[in-house]
C-alpha cells in the first residue's frame, strides 16, 4: 500500500510539512502600506455609499478608506470598530463579493471593486497590532446580563453591553471562545490564531467574564439564567446537522463537514489529520466549499462536491466556487445522495441520483451515478437544537425551527434576546451575527437603563 500522497483510504500525512504550511497560508495576504494607500485612493468617497448600505453592520466604508488614504490608520480602525467590533474577522471572512464589494460603484464601472475587505483588514490589523483600544467600559450600572455562546453574536453583544457599563457573563459550551470563527471557518481565511487574538481584543474592554464548558441544556438552564440576570442574550448558533437521508450513511468515513473543519481548526499538526484519497462533499454552501477545499489542501487526490440543484442555486458565492475550482475541486450539480457504499464498515463510494426540476419541484430522475470515495462529508445545512432550551419553563417561540425575534432581537420570552445563526430569518453570516448581537445589546440597554 502506497504511503504519502497516494495512500489509499483515509490517511494522515499525505503532504510534506512545507506543503501544509504553504497550502494553509493566508488566502489574502495583508496589504502593505503602499498597497493600502493606492487601493484606498481608488475609492470614490460616494455619496450615501452603496457599499455602506450593503454592509450588515453599516460600517462607514468611504470614511474608513479615506482615513487609510490619508495615513490616519488608527482613525480608520475606530470608524470600523464603531459599528463592528469584530471588524478584523469580518475583513477576513465576509463574502465581500456579495456584500460591500458587489455594491461598490467600481464593480459596476469596471468589474473591479475597491478591495474593501482587505483595506478593512489593513486598518483593524494596525490597531490590534499595537493593542489600541478605542472603547472604555461605561460606568458600572450594577445590571448583569447572561449571554449564551461566545461566538460573533455573543461577543458583539457583550462588548456593546460592557460599553454601557453592564456586567456580562458568557456561557460557552466549548473550551474556547470564538464560535465558528474559532471552529468553523476555513483555516486559510484566519490563520495564526487570529480568532483568539480577536476574542482577547474584544474582551479587553472589561466587565466580560467567559465561562467555558457550560452548555445551555447541560448545567445551565435558560430559566436559571433569566432568574439570576437582568437580561439574557442567546447566541448559541446551530448545534445540529442535517442528515443525508441516504442508505448507509452511518458507515465509517461519513462525517459532518462542520465537525471535520472544527478538528482541522484545532489540530496542532495538520499532518496528523487523516483525509481520504477520494473525497465526496454533499452540499452547496460555504461549508461544502470550506470542507472540499481543505480536503484538497490536505492532499486528497480527488475531491468532488455534489449539489442537488444547479449552480445558480448554490449558496456558496461565485468567488468561493472559483476558489474551489482553482484548488482542483470538481463541482457537480443536479445530484442527490442515494446510498453510501461500504465494505467492512468503511466507505468505498456513494451512489447518487440525478435530479431535475419538474413543475418547480425537485425530484430524482431515476438515473444514478456512483463515485468512488473513501470519505464523505455532509454539508447540507445546520439546524438549531431546540432541546437546549428545554427546562426553561415557558417555551420560546420558534419560527422555521429557529428562535423567533422581533426587529430588536427580542424573543417571545421577557428579558430574553437572541441573535446570530440561532434566530429565524438569518443569513448565517458572521457579519450579520455581529450586527444582531450589537443591536440586541442596544435594545437590552434601553430596557435596563429605562
Amino acid at each position: 500500500m502506497a504511503d504519502g500522497l497516494y495512500a489509499d483510504g483515509i490517511a494522515a500525512g499525505r503532504l510534506s510539512g512545507e506543503d501544509y504550511e504553504k497550502n494553509f497560508a493566508d488566502l489574502h495576504p495583508p496589504l502593505d502600506g503602499h498597497e493600502a494607500r493606492v487601493e484606498a485612493d481608488r475609492c470614490y468617497f460616494c455619496y450615501d455609499a452603496p457599499c455602506m448600505t450593503a454592509c450588515p453592520t453599516s460600517i462607514d466604508i468611504p470614511l474608513f478608506i479615506r482615513q487609510i488614504a490619508t495615513g490616519n490608520t488608527l482613525g480608520s480602525a475606530k470608524t470600523i470598530f464603531d459599528q463592528n467590533i469584530l471588524g478584523g474577522m469580518c475583513a477576513r471572512v465576509c463574502p465581500t463579493e456579495t456584500l460591500c464589494e458587489e455594491a461598490c460603484v467600481r464593480e459596476a464601472a469596471e468589474g473591479k471593486p475597491v478591495q474593501i475587505g482587505r483595506l478593512q483588514r489593513y486598518a483593524t490589523d494596525a490597531a490590534m497590532h499595537v493593542g489600541r483600544q478605542f472603547f472604555g467600559r461605561g460606568e458600572e450600572t450594577g445590571k448583569t446580563v447572561a449571554i449564551v455562546g461566545a461566538g460573533p453574536a455573543g461577543l458583539a453583544c457583550a462588548h456593546r453591553l460592557a460599553m454601557h457599563g453592564h456586567t456580562v457573563t458568557i456561557f460557552e459550551a466549548r473550551e474556547k471562545s470564538g464560535g465558528l470563527n474559532e471552529f468553523g471557518i476555513a483555516a486559510y481565511k484566519t490563520p495564526d490564531g487570529f480568532a483568539q487574538a480577536e476574542v482577547d481584543y474584544v474582551t479587553a474592554i472589561g466587565g466580560i467574564t467567559i465561562e467555558h464548558g457550560r452548555a445551555l441544556g447541560g448545567d445551565v438552564s435558560l430559566a436559571e439564567l433569566a432568574r439570576d440576570h437582568d437580561a439574557v442574550f442567546l447566541g448559541m448558533g446551530l448545534a445540529g446537522v442535517n442528515a443525508l437521508n441516504a442508505v448507509g450513511e452511518d458507515a465509517d468515513g461519513v462525517e459532518n463537514a462542520v465537525d471535520y473543519i472544527a478538528h482541522l481548526r484545532q489540530a496542532s499538526d495538520l499532518a496528523s489529520l487523516p483525509v481520504g484519497r477520494r473525497v465526496v462533499v454533499i452540499g452547496g454552501g460555504m461549508t461544502a466549499i470550506d470542507a472540499a477545499v481543505q480536503a484538497r489542501l490536505l492532499g486528497a487526490e480527488e475531491v468532488t462536491i455534489c449539489y442537488r440543484r444547479g449552480q445558480e442555486q448554490m449558496n456558496a458565492s461565485a468567488f468561493e466556487q472559483d476558489l474551489a475550482a482553482s484548488k482542483g475541486v470538481t463541482i457537480r450539480h443536479w445530484l442527490q445522495p442515494k446510498r453510501v457504499l461500504a465494505e467492512g464498515g468503511n466507505v468505498t463510494g456513494i451512489e447518487l441520483e440525478y435530479t431535475a426540476l419538474s413543475g418547480g419541484k425537485l425530484s430524482g430522475t431515476g438515473e444514478t451515478l456512483t463515485l468512488a470515495a473513501d470519505q464523505v462529508f455532509k454539508a447540507i445545512g445546520q439546524t438549531f437544537d431546540a432541546a437546549a432550551l428545554n427546562g426553561s419553563g415557558a417555551a420560546i417561540t420558534l419560527d422555521g425551527g429557529r428562535i423567533q425575534v422581533d426587529g430588536e432581537g427580542r424573543t417571545s420570552m421577557p428579558n430574553v434576546w437572541a441573535g446570530g445563526d440561532c434566530i429565524a430569518g438569518g443569513d448565517d453570516l458572521t457579519v450579520s451575527a455581529v450586527a444582531q448581537g450589537r443591536d440586541a445589546a442596544e435594545s437590552i440597554h434601553r430596557v435596563l437603563a429605562g
Binding site: D41, Y44, F45, C46, Y47, D48, A49, R106
Partner: protein
Amino acid sequence: MADIRNTFAGIKSPNPFWLASAPPTDKAYNVERAFKAGWGGVVWKTLGEDGPPVVNVNGPRYGAIWGADRRLLGLNNIELITDRDLHLNLREIKQVKRNWPDRALVVSLMVPCEEAAWKAILPLVEETGADGIELNFGCPHGMSERGMGSAVGQVPEYVEMVVRWCKQTTRMPVITKLTPNITDIRQPARAAHKGGSDAVSLINTINSITGVNLDSFAPEPTIDGKGSHGGFCGPAVKPIALHMVAEIARDRETAGLPISGIGGITTWRDAAEFLALGAGNVQVCTAAMTYGFKVVQEMIDGLQNWMDAKGHATLDDVIGRAAPNVTEWRYLNLNYVAKARIDQDLCIKCGRCHIACEDTSHQAITAMVDGKRHFEVMEDACVGCNLCVNVCPVEGCIDMVPLDVGTLDQRTGATVSADYANWTTHPNNPSAVTAAE
C-alpha cells in the same frame, strides 16, 4: 507625417522639444544622452561669472508633492546655477555643439546685474558656437538673494537694461526667461521686448514650500532642520504657465515676440496646448527628471499623430491658434446657456455630482427618484457651472449641453437668444455703454 521641424528666434531644431536649463543639462554627459534620446535642443544649465564655483547645499535639493500611487505632481528645488567651472562648461558646450550640429544648443546665463559682467561672459559663450543665450531672470531661490535671477525679473526696468546690454554685445539670439513670481507677466515681457530681446521663455519656477514635516516641524526639503523656499515646477504648475503664455501671446505690445513655453509639460498634449496658446516651442524639465530622457519619444510621436489626425502639416498650423479665443471675462457671451446632462447608461451611481451640487453649489442634481438611487440634473436649478463634470469619475458621463437658440431656460424663464451679449452692455453694469440716441 506632419513636419515638426522648428525654428525659434532663428534657432533651428528637428522638433520643438527642448530641455530647459536645469540639472538635466548641466554637463556634456547628460546633454549627449538627451540628444541621443531625440531631444530637439537644450538650454544648458545656467552659467555664472568666472571665479570660484557656486556652492550648493549638501542635503536635499528637491521636494515634491504626489498624487495617487506616488505619481509626482510637483517638484521644487533649491539648487543654484551650475557649480562647475565656467571654462569646463564652455569647452563641453563647444564640443557638444560640434557633435550635434542639427540640434539647438542655447546657453543660460546669470551674472551680476552689471554691464561689465554681462559683457565679459558673452564673447566666451559666442566662441563656443552655441545657437543663442537665455537670460536667467527667473530663479527664485538663492541667487535672487544676491540680486540675480528673479530679483532682476521682478523689475521690468532691469530686464530691459540687461537685455539691451546683451543685444549690444552679441550677435547671438537672446531669449529672456521670465519669473512667474510677479503680478502681471506682461510687464517684464514688454520690457524684454523693448530691450530688443529676440524671444521670451516662461515660466521659471514658483516660490514654494512643498510640505512640512509634522514630526520635526521643518519645511521640506529640509536641511539640518531648516528649509528655504524653492522653485516649484512640474505638472501642477501647468495651468499657471498656460495663462501666462496666453497673456503675452495676446498682448498687442509684444505681438510677434516668440515665446518658449515652459511649465509642467509632460506629454505631447501638454506641448500642443502651449503651442496652441502661442508658444513657438516648448521646454521640458520635470518630466525628464521624473521619467528620464526617453519621454521625448512619446512627445514627438504623439504630436505628429495628433497633427496628422487633424490635418496640421507644420507647427505653424498649430502655433497661436487658441490665443484669439482667450479673452476677458467681460467679453464672454452671457446669452450662452448650457445645462449638465448625465448619461444614465454611463452613470455608476457614485453620487459625487449630487453631493457636490447639493452641498456646495445649486441643488440641481437628484439623489433619489421614485425611491431609487438616481442622479439626474434638474434643469430648472442647473446654472451650468460644470462642477459635476469635474467631480464625476467617469469620463464622458456628464456633458454640458448648450441650449438651442429659441428654447426655454427653465431656470430663468427666458428664451435663449441668438444674440451675443456681454457684460459691457449688460443693464446691471453701471459702466455699461449705451448707444447714443
